[in-house]
Amino acid sequence: MSELLAIRNVGKSYWRGVREVSVLVDVSVQVDPGQVVAVIGSRGEGKTTLLKLAAGLDLVDRGEVWLGDRELSGLTERARRRLLGHEIRWLDRREPSLRVPIRDLVAAPLAIGRRRGLREARSLALGALDRLGIGAVAEQRWGDISNWERVLAALAGAIVGSPKLLVIDDLLDGLGASRTEEAGRALRSLVAELGFGVLMSVSDWDAALVADRILNFEGGHLMLMSDQTSQGTSATDAEVLPFERRRDGSRSMNAC
């Protein structure tokens, strides 16, 4: 399967006063179409920084970020913005800058710069909200809906835009066991149907379990925790171990 997103040996630092702080050190991640890759770590460990680089919202200091055959740092800011609207979709629960009804919020990326009429975009957005069972909140604003409805509204955005890559920042965290499971099921169902790849950051282990591949942050490095994809690719400093059989001959890849 061809690579959808390839983050290769990426480094990123920030300046705190006169001190340079390395947030990402030689980090590599790959996401293929139809794969869900989770990056787990505590707050401030660089998860969101990594996601921003993947979405083209920020640029690397070292290394490369490829979306298909395009290297993001080689693109103009305008071209990267266009990618973010069309081929990449960023999902989180933060209050959006657009103060419009949920229906228009979901429709916006489709209507803006895509030559789709607002009416058509709204109709698609309504369909997506209905499909996720929250058609009733279409006319409400972000501040008026529940945390759970925000998660579903964000996922509705993944349906209407037909993106190739979803970049999900802490969307599934802190929902409680049953909601996390429900959101995970909804996400997997969309991935199976629409075939996009997902790179998501999580803080909770139960939220990570929905992923095909799980990577753990430590001191700016990423360690491969588990790889259940067919190719069993490795991360920067992963130690890949033999397959182990469990229950009815099922197998899982042991990795650390």
């Binding site: 139960d206 379990l209 430590e218 588990s226 099922s250 197998r251 899982s252 650390c256």
Partner: protein
């Protein structure tokens, strides 16, 4: 304060439960196989099945249905006393809070009284190795969750299958949380060492 009871699974109750739940009389081999399949992560000693079958039979919890040519072919069945004991354990509530008998906590406690810099460095290495072991166990449990979830998407499973998935998810989270704890503890100790060095 009432005597503390560990929340840990004992080999005795695991062996008893396997015989009680077994489809007819069980051989030592049957019990050992299920113990390895269902409670492999508990890493009970190899001779634990033999010992517990013998002790449970002596205690009147099991009976020897037929003596085999070799001990591994002998057949065991649960007595009413054994069934009662197991069912009581199954529905009993866990001690609240459970007794904390954590080896890491104990080591830290001993080190608190008399610690050398080398002790901390050694502990850091032990934690690193433990973290890797736990990460491997996490990968195994995540693999089982992944496979079960994929099968459930294909066709809804039985109640047993659903419970198996819940159990695997719980096990994966246990290992994940263990990795996180070991990682945090190690990083704290590493910072302590670095801080000490910078002060020298």
């Amino acid at each position: 304060m009432p005597p503390s009871r560990s929340a840990a699974l004992s080999a005795r109750i695991a062996v008893l439960g396997i015989v009680v739940q077994g489809d007819g009389p069980q051989t030592l081999g049957n019990v050992a196989l299920r113990l390895a399949e269902d409670f492999g992560a508990a890493r009970f000693p190899k001779n634990t099945v033999h010992q517990n079958l013998r002790n449970l039979t002596r205690g009147g919890y099991l009976r020897l249905v037929r003596e085999g040519a070799e001990p591994s072919y002998s057949l065991y069945e649960a007595e009413d006393k054994g069934i009662e004991e197991f069912m009581e354990w199954l529905v009993a509530s866990e001690p609240d809070p459970p007794a904390l008998r954590d080896a890491l906590q104990a080591r830290l406690s001993f080190y608190t009284r008399a610690v050398e810099r080398g002790d901390i460095a050694g502990l850091v290495e032990k934690l690193r190795a433990q973290q890797q072991h736990c990460a491997r166990q996490f990968a195994v449990a995540h693999g089982n969750v992944h496979l079960e979830q994929a099968q459930r998407r294909e066709q809804p499973g039985s109640l047993n299958d659903a419970l198996y998935l819940i159990r695997m998810e719980d096990e994966a989270e246990l290992w994940g949380n263990a990795v996180e704890r070991l990682q945090k503890l190690r990083l704290r100790l590493e910072r302590l060492l670095t801080g000490e060095r910078s002060q020298r």
